[in-house]
Symmetry: C2
Subunit: 284 residues, 2 copies
């Protein structure tokens, strides 16, 4: 039996639209973990990959493009797509390209109702108290994805939408999620597939720096994004208790002018409470 099934499964998600990785990219087998554990069901992973690729691409792609981005042969992709079209999770447009289907709407609504209802209340409370935009994000492959938000009432505010995906090393929620992982090697493994692109002069740009940053986050119990994603934006984030809600984090972010140290300090306390309320909602 050849272990040549060395295709980076979940990572194949959105290979495109990213900057060139370092020359040594393409790390099929990492010796550290004994890979052949329980990878899950191949076809299901691939089907989900396709859904995510579509979502990341704005919801519409021709099959060839899907096949290329998923790094799969076209007949395989075609078969998976047909299965999901048949079920209404995808639809095929007149020009034969594929788009997200309607069946996803009620599913998402249902999933949202299980958290979203309370979650948006919690987020709104944060905004009421602090005045700045509050977000709920989840770990999604090698990025973080926003699942709910309450906008600040200031005109000058963060503009994020549900579904937006951001890098883990350069954002508050991302770093909070990374720090939540058991060990740094796991975190770095996830990071490596995308590298550490620098968005601003403050972005954490090396693995060593990231290690130190994660250590600091664990010590003080919250993550800070000091203009690392975008100049002028400061953000505080806390991950929920991983026992009840692994891979979920809340954050508050706003312009540096308003996000004073004093506000950040208040935010930390409120975020702790919010994280605990949210985790409680998710537990049962």
């Amino acid at each position: 039996m050849s272990t040549q099934a060395a295709s980076p499964q979940g990572a194949a998600t959105q290979a495109a639209a990213t900057q060139v990785a370092s020359p040594e990219a393409g790390p099929p087998e990492v010796a550290s973990s004994q890979g052949p554990a329980v990878p899950g069901v191949q076809s299901v992973h691939r089907a989900l990959d396709l859904l995510e690729i579509l979502a990341a691409a704005g919801g519409r792609l021709p099959m060839a493009e899907l096949a290329a981005r998923a790094q799969l042969p076209t007949p395989t992709v075609h078969r998976l797509l047909r299965t999901m079209v048949e079920r209404g999770y995808l639809r095929q447009l007149p020009d034969r390209s594929y788009a997200l289907g309607f069946r996803l709407v009620p599913l998402g609504a249902r999933a949202n109702a299980m958290v979203g209802a309370n979650a948006s209340g919690v987020l709104h409370d944060l905004v009421a108290e602090l005045g700045e935009t509050a977000n709920l994000a989840v770990l999604s492959g090698d990025q973080a994805e926003y699942v709910a938000q309450a906008p600040s009432r200031y005109a000058m505010r963060m503009f994020t939408e549900v579904g937006r995906r951001v890098d883990l090393h350069s954002t508050g929620v991302g770093k909070a999620l990374l720090a939540q992982l058991d060990d740094d090697d796991e975190a770095l493994g996830i990071i490596r597939s995308r590298g550490l692109p620098r968005y601003t002069a403050h972005t954490v740009g090396t693995e060593t720096a990231l290690r130190a940053e994660l250590r600091r986050i664990r010590e003080r119990g919250f993550a800070l994004d000091e203009q690392e994603q975008e100049i002028g934006v400061r953000c505080v984030a806390i991950a929920l208790d991983p026992a009840s809600a692994p891979g979920v984090a809340v954050s508050v972010s706003g312009p540096t002018a308003r996000m004073t140290d004093e506000l950040v300090e208040r935010a930390v306390g409120l975020l702790r409470a919010a994280a605990s309320r949210l985790a409680g909602d998710l537990r049962d």
Copy 2:
């Protein structure tokens, strides 16, 4: 109880039913002309079944219950569930039961944005013009599922929520969707799995009656629900052009006292326009 445990695994549609594989090779000869040569990918169908069962059950079930409803052995279900948990489409609660995961939220939001944005505008216009609740529904297995709605401003109004599923033979959208299918045999085939339960004295209760009803719908170009689902409720529905959006229908419904023939007549014109606008949005 709102949760109809009695309802069979409506989601586990075809997967389990047609499993009888005869020992001798060769394609299973199908009764109808060109049968589905490609049934799709089994594992993906099963994974989707599980998602739908969970959604139908209110979003939370223990594994044994899922296995029972999907009519699959537990190890198989476990493997599928783990795959989806790993990806964030499901989560496992502390009591080990499974629930819909966060990753569904942005997916649903994205899918919604591709139609919902314009769709809800179109639906609201209908409400503004007619005063009665407008709905958008899609064919979902052997039922219809609401994906968007704009509520009437009257206190006495339909209460439907996104994700609600209704039978095809007893509702306006359902009948419009059935009439949209190529031939009656296909429609009746879908219907047979659930039968023709009578909700009121007006419900279409026989296949013969349904055939006649579908014929009438095709002739006049719209479907009427004359208190067939619920006494006192009248509904007009039109399916979108199947070339651009197969399996999608719009409807307007309200109490018989307000849904006069005159209003229905006006509604038909407006629904035609709405269906055309919606189909246009979905085309590209």
